[in-house]
């Protein structure tokens, strides 16, 4: 049975180490914060200029000056710091974020990501995604295994405009977990969701991958 969004987030949370500084993209990645095991010290960064993000505020305590990159109201934690957008992206681009977890429309077998633009549809913009994939020490993509149409999202080459090339380390879908041997290296299937068969994953994956399942 395929993983739910929450289970995908929980699986991604397993990749987070104690002490990590992490940037979470919008969508499924935002669920990762709630899936962390207790007792871990992890700081979340928001690219609009905040390190150390707390939970949503209590009703009535929303502060218009305190939002995350998804424009949602959030709160401080005791070690929060605020900074400008240029300082924020200096942090991201300079390789100081341990991990960026973000959604994608396609990931190629070279680790290219396409997550910001569908030609013919209105272009919303890439926001901070190109900086995050170029800058974070580790990049995890969290996405459905296939399009609503059934088309594979793990592809030989991205057909959509790219966000970055050779930037993916880890891909977690509702069906399986993949890891790249290194940046721009080989894609390896590491885990299957419970009840999901290798054949199903093969059928729904266009990208070439090695099988490295633990037994």
């Amino acid at each position: 049975m395929a993983w739910t969004r929450e289970q995908m987030a929980a699986r991604a949370a397993q990749q987070i180490r104690d002490g990590f500084y992490v940037n979470l993209g919008i969508g499924i990645p935002t669920l990762v914060a709630n899936a962390l095991p207790p007792g871990m010290t992890v700081s979340f960064q928001s690219e609009n200029g905040m390190l150390g993000i707390g939970p949503f505020p209590y009703e009535g305590e929303e502060d218009p000056d305190l939002i995350n990159a998804g424009k949602q109201t959030v709160t401080e934690v005791p070690d929060t710091s605020y900074f400008s957008s240029s300082d924020s992206f200096a942090m991201i681009r300079g390789g100081h974020m341990d991990l960026s977890i973000l959604g994608s429309m396609q990931v190629s077998e070279q680790g290219d990501i396409a997550n910001w633009m569908v030609p013919g549809k209105m272009v919303k913009g890439m926001g901070g995604a190109m900086d995050l994939v170029a800058g974070a020490k580790e990049v995890i993509v969290l996405m459905e295994h296939v399009e609503k149409s059934g088309a594979p999202k793990l592809v030989t080459r991205c057909t959509l405009p790219l966000t970055g090339t050779h930037v993916t380390d880890f891909v977690i879908t509702d069906l399986a977990v993949f890891e790249f041997t290194k940046r721009g290296g080989t894609l390896v299937l590491k885990e299957l969701a419970p009840g999901v068969s290798l054949d199903e994953v093969r059928a729904k994956t266009e990208a070439k991958f090695d099988v490295g399942l633990a037994n």
């Binding site: 609009n48 000056d65 424009k71 109201t73 400008s84 681009r93 890439m126 900086d131 800058g135």
Partner: protein
């Protein structure tokens, strides 16, 4: 004597607006935007503007009101997804659009204010963003050259100013405001509170007064929240 304090947006904008000019506008989404100054530009009716701002407001608020009023010819932004009017104007060919990755946009503005004419970033290498731009290899990695960005006018929002123009911002309302303060030939700030010189802590001034030409105290700002997200209060034991 430096006389930086003006009565309102109209007087602060007097003499600095012109058709076809480039304006940087601070804010991220609707957070930390200079509401009075945007309204002042709408009222002045200046046209064919190139506006540099991370976003373009929403349909009826923020920079959206300049769009609705037909004053913007071109936007330089990283994300404009919250604005339906934007889509309509863009698809109708009435609006030019230049996308910059958010970090590249922030750095281009910082560079513009800091006398850095160009810089090399990994961001966007191998993507459409790099098309037509010089690239260069450093230590085996590929980088794209981006250029510094300046504006004829920057309109920004801060929390407090002293009368010299030393500024502090509040929480994530800081965002693009500090860099834009440095990159405008003229910079006007809208603040929630004006204090006397000497009342701000010199160690914690986010933007030194040298960057600020004119100051107004914000009147009747709405400070709209784009996406209210809350959690339920736990039961009191």
């Amino acid at each position: 004597m430096r006389k930086k304090v003006y009565a309102d947006a109209a007087s602060a904008l007097d003499g600095v607006l012109a058709d076809g000019m480039t304006i940087m506008a601070g804010g991220f989404g609707l957070c930390g935007i200079p509401e009075n100054l945007i309204a002042g530009i709408r009222d002045a009716g200046v046209k064919n503007l190139t506006v540099v701002s991370n976003n373009c407001g929403v349909d009826d608020f923020g920079l959206g009101i300049l769009l609705a009023n037909g004053q913007i010819r071109k936007m330089i932004s990283s994300y404009v997804g919250e604005n339906k009017l934007f889509e309509k104007l863009y698809l109708g060919g009435e609006l030019e659009l230049e996308f910059n990755p958010q970090g590249t946009l922030a750095e281009r503005i910082r560079a513009g204010g800091a006398g850095i004419a160009g810089f090399y970033t990994k961001t966007g290498y191998g993507t459409v963003i790099a098309e037509g731009k010089p690239t260069r290899e450093f230590n085996g990695h590929h980088y794209v050259m981006e250029t510094g960005l300046t504006a004829d006018l920057s309109i920004i929002k801060a929390w407090k100013a002293d009368k010299e123009g030393n500024l502090i911002y509040r929480k994530t309302a800081r965002n693009f405001n500090p860099m834009m303060a440095t990159a405008g030939k003229i910079t006007i700030v809208e603040v929630e509170e004006l204090v006397e010189i000497g009342e701000l802590d010199p160690e914690n001034i986010h933007t030194p007064g040298i960057y600020i030409d004119r100051i107004i105290v914000e009147q009747g700002a709405e400070k709209r929240i784009e996406k209210v997200t809350t959690r339920k209060r736990e039961e009191v034991k």
